[in-house]
Every structure is written in C-alpha cells, then in structure tokens.
C-alpha cells in the first residue's frame, strides 16, 4: 500500500507540507466520472427514493432521474427533519442550548455538545479545569469511535453485507454502556456542559474503557477481514463516486471525505483546540477520493481515536470536573465567536453572537453532514443506482445534522 500515508510508513508527517492547491498530483485530474455512456437510446425516467427507504439513513428524499440503471441526475430534497434548532437556540439561555445539540448529530452527540460549550466558554471567557478537558477529549474520541463503527455497519449494509451491520453495533454498544455509566443516557448525552462536564467519571468507566481498548484491535482486524479485504466489497467501492480535491474544496467537503481526497486536513492537528496538541496521533489520508478510501480513512481513524483515548486516560489529572462557580444565567459581553471542531463527520462549527443579554442573538450550526451531502448530485452522476446508495452511504450523513 504505497499510497497509504498514515501509520508508521511515512515519518514525513505530510501535514507539515500540505499539498498546495495548485500542486495536486496530476493523476487526480483524470478520475472516473461515472460509467462509460451507452450508445443505446434509453428513455429517462424519474425515480423517487425516500423519505421512506431502507438506505437513506433517515428521512432524506432523492429525486433521481435515471436511464435504465444509470443515474443521470440526482436532487436531494431536505427538510423532513428540520426542527429549527437555530431559532430555538436564540430563545434559550446559554446553558439550555446544550441538550438540543444532542438531537442534531445524534451519533456524535458528545462532539455536538462540545462545540456549543466551547463557543459559550470562549464568548464568556470561562476557564475550564484541565480534568474536564481531559474527560471531554476521552468522551469525544470514544464517540468518534462509536460513530465510525455505526457508520461502518450501515455502509456494509448498504453494500449488502448485513452481518457487518450487527458487528458494528455490537462494539458500539460497549461505548454506549460507558456513556450510560457516566451520564445516564445512551444516545442524547448532554454530558459536556458549559464550564466542564456534567459529572465526574467513575472508576468503573475507566475500567470499561480499558477493557474496550483491549478488545478493539482484534475486532477491527475482523472487520478488515470481513469487509475491507472482501473482493466483492472492493469491486463495489473502489473508484466509485470519486471526487477530486478541487471539487472537494469547492463543495467545502470536510472530515474523512476530504482526507480521502488526499488532503490530510484535520482541525485537531491544524488548529489544535482543547488538549489535542498534547497527544500523539496520525491523520490518515488516502488519495483517490472514492468510497473505498473513505471507508479506509474512517477505519484508520478508529484506531487513531483509540490511541488518543489511551493517552488521555493515562494522563488524566486530578481536580475539578467543572467550573465551581458558574452564574445560573451567563451574560457574555457583546461580541461573536466562531468555534470549529473536528466532529466524526467533519468540521463542526458553532457561530454564536451575543448581544449582552442572557440569550444569544444568533446561533449557527455549521454541520458537516449538510455540506458533505451537497456533493452527492455531482458524485453520483453517471453511476448506477446501486452505486448511488453506496456513495450516499459513504458520505456518512445524519439527517438530524443535515436538517437541524
């Protein structure tokens, strides 16, 4: 695997010399844009996929124009899960916003909570104890693992391997048990609060994390044996839905999708927030930008996240887990703040504008699913309908995150 940049192989630390936009490897310019066109004349017809469909991952509707099996154009129809969280956030105090963000990216709730908490802390200049930051890193990275495991299962199920789905869930369940242990919920945690975390971690939680990290490498090897190496899976994903780095940048693709296009851009490395500058981890990146590379990037990220959890757990200091004296209603000074973090699906940004009162004037959630989904019409054009499902799965959307 010469194209694989991560792991021991490359000490060059590609992130130090990020390929400049005009220095993209030349082969990137010739990607396969769909299957070769047939000379037969076929009548186009419209097909409606969703909002109730087994593999739209929620309530997404796609209006697909097809020629036989080939997708000619595809128009996503959003808004079925639009719950006006931005409007709701404008009418809540700063602490009350946090539980709503769970409902946006419900597979990466910890990261969603963290973005809001970090934005309010920056806006109101609240200093967070170190232990709280460590706990945040641990739970956020665990949530990244859980999200990627869930995604792996769902993607395998999209391709047709239903067993991978159950295996992914089996390991995710262990992480949910840990979260239940520390915050009492299994899906909507509301754990990372303004000024720290809701409650301190317990010794049982640490024991559970240790147990999980012990078995994880074996299980990931199993996934690779079952899915990644499978010749049918490779045939179904390699080269499918490939996008170039230029296109990815034009469509503001972030997260694993961007890293699959050859740019190892990860905010945890580039603009280290919280404690990420303290930890040693790699940014996996591949060059082809197709479904297979997205899969490999995420599978590698599971192991990298496990590395971070290991380090954070070892370095967990004693101390407070939240700010002791926090006003019941925070009144930040007039100003605005834009926080960007690396969520499992990509760059999660919170723009918050304060007008000096107890409620924000404007809260904008820049969610990765929304921007990543916007490339679907381009990426799916010319591929078959089975590929459309694979590409949609590889984008890793959460509809709560898209529609907000």
């Amino acid at each position: 695997m010469s194209e694989q940049l991560t792991h021991s192989a490359s000490k060059k630390a590609f992130r130090k010399d990020i390929p400049l936009i005009d220095q993209i490897p030349p082969r990137k310019k010739h990607i396969l844009r769909g299957l070769p066109e047939s000379e037969l004349h076929v009548e186009e017809f419209l097909m409606n996929i969703g909002p109730q469909h087994p593999s739209t991952h929620g309530v997404l509707r796609l209006v697909v124009s097809m020629e036989g099996e080939v997708v000619k154009s595809c128009e996503p129809d959003l808004g079925y899960l639009h719950r006006t969280f931005e409007k709701i956030s404008e009418n809540r105090t700063y602490q009350q916003i946090v539980p709503f963000t769970d409902r946006m990216d419900y597979l990466g709730s910890m990261n969603a909570n963290w973005g809001v908490a970090a934005a309010v802390e920056k806006l109101a200049s609240i200093e967070v104890p170190e232990r709280a930051e460590y706990i945040r890193v641990i739970v956020a990275e665990l949530n990244r693992i859980a999200s990627h495991l869930m995604w792996m299962g769902a993607f395998a199920a999209d391709i047709g391997a239903l067993t991978g789905f159950v295996y992914g869930f089996r390991e995710r369940e262990m992480i949910l048990d840990m979260f239940e242990e520390i915050c009492g919920s299994r899906l909507t945690y509301g754990y990372i609060r303004v000024g720290g975390v809701a409650e301190d971690v317990t010794p049982k939680f640490i024991q559970m994390v240790n147990d999980f990290l012990k078995i994880l490498p074996d299980r990931v090897t199993d996934y690779h044996d079952l899915i990644t190496g499978n010749v049918i899976f490779i045939e179904r994903t390699r080269g499918i839905g490939a996008i170039t780095l230029d296109e990815a940048i034009s469509y503001d693709i972030t997260g694993p999708m961007l890293r699959a296009c050859g740019l190892p851009w990860d905010l945890r490395k580039e603009e280290p927030y919280s404690l990420y500058s303290k930890f040693d981890f790699n940014i996996p990146a591949y060059f082809n930008g197709d479904c297979y590379d997205r899969f490999r990037v995420r599978m590698d990220e599971i192991m990298e996240a496990a590395k971070i959890v290991r380090q954070a757990l070892d370095g967990l200091p004693e101390g407070d887990y939240k700010v002791k004296k926090l006003a019941r209603n925070i009144k930040p000074p007039v100003g605005d703040v834009y926080i960007r973090q690396e969520a499992p699906r990509g760059e999660y940004g919170v723009y918050m504008e304060s007008d000096g009162s107890i409620k924000p004037n404007r809260v904008k959630y820049r969610t990765p699913s929304f921007t990543n989904l916007s490339i679907l019409p381009l990426a799916a054009r010319g591929w078959k309908i089975a590929d459309l499902i694979a590409i949609l799965g590889s984008v890793d959307i959460v509809l709560g995150d898209v529609d907000r």
């Binding site: 602490q95 539980p99 809701a198 044996d225 190496g229």
Partner: protein, 200 residues
C-alpha cells in the same frame, strides 16, 4: 495468468470472510433476553423524574418541593408546571400544590434535577416509557401537596410495568415514600392473593 491470480486472490478473500463469520458462530452471544433479563442500569441512569416526600415528623407525606421554581426556570423545553401554596410548616414559606411534568416535551436532560436545591426531585430508573394516550403523559407528581394514590397510576396502567423501587446510591439515603407505600401495597395484595390461590 494475471486473471487466474486475481480469481484466486478474490476467492481467498472470500474464504477469509467466511472464516470470520464462522468464528463468531460459536462465540458467546451478546443478546439479552429483554423482558425477562434486564441489563443492570448505571447509577446515573436518567428515567422518569421522581418526587420526594417527607417521611418523618408532623408533615410526613408532604412533598419536599418548596416551589422555588428553579426547575421550571432551567427547563429548556418548559415541560414543568408548578402551582404553590402556603406551607403548613410555619418555618417554611411555600409548598408545591401541583407539580405536573409533561413527558411529551421532556428531553431527559437532567437539568431540573441538578437545579433542585432541596433534593425534591431525582431521576428514577424507569425506562419503559410508552403510553397509549397523550393525556397520560402529563405526569402528576404532586397533587394537593401530598402523595396521591393516583400517582404513577397512569404509568402502571398503561405500560404494565411497576414503578421500580431502585434509587441511585447518591439518593439512597433519601427514603422514598412512594416506594415504601407501593411495596406495602404489593405485599398486601400478595397476602390477599395467596390464600385465595390456596383455596382454589
């Protein structure tokens, strides 16, 4: 030749996959047989909100809630409604007359419990939260300052699940009148039932 190698490589990858599934075929199963076996819940589990009552003294049976409205203010979805009255205890000012929690709105964020300064509400461990009627989801935690027999009746009637007397350790010292009473009632019912069964 290349073609043959590809075919055999592909076949081998398929066999590796078959090996993985075969391996798990004889491993220990992860499923829990849900209604019979329930996984132990974490101490911090967030279920129904439960109301605490005074157990001792003159005002036993009265709610601990003093209607300070901290939970009402902090609730992000405004699902709590409290009316207050004068407390029968002259040393205290107010007491909750009615305390209604609308579970159609509640998002189980635990903010109200954290805001409570009097340990009047805690998070229970019930998680079988299904109802047949929307009206039943207005849970009346306090009625006329006191524990009411109709309390949680909706949950028992609708879901068929008993209100389980499990409290998180941090609240374990707070004795729960509801649990006590229900336990006694249950014992009484059993005592009534068992002779009848014997006679049959």
């Amino acid at each position: 030749m290349r073609f043959l190698i590809d075919v055999f490589k592909g076949l081998w990858s398929l066999f590796v996959g078959l090996g993985v599934t075969f391996k798990y075929m004889f491993r220990k199963k992860t499923t829990v047989q849900y209604p019979e076996i329930k996984k132990p819940l974490a101490d911090r589990f967030i279920g129904y909100v439960k109301m605490m009552y005074e157990t001792e003294g003159e005002f036993a049976g009265h709610t601990k809630c003093v209607a300070c409205m901290a939970c009402v203010v902090v609730c992000p979805v405004s699902c709590i409604q409290v009316t207050h009255d004068k407390h029968p205890d002259p040393t205290k000012k107010r007491i909750a007359n009615d305390f209604i929690l609308d579970y159609t709105k509640c998002e189980f964020c635990n903010l109200c419990v954290e805001a409570c300064n009097f340990d009047a509400i805690i998070m229970g461990h019930d998680y079988e939260l299904s109802f047949y009627d929307r009206a039943d989801m207005d849970m009346i935690l306090v009625k006329d300052k006191k524990y009411n027999d109709d309390l949680y009746a909706a949950s028992r009637r609708q879901t068929g699940s008993e209100y389980r007397p499990i409290i998180a350790p941090r609240e374990r010292e707070i004795v729960d009148v509801i649990n006590k009473r229900e336990h006694e009632e249950r014992l009484k019912k059993q005592a009534e039932k068992s002779p009848a069964q014997q006679s049959e």
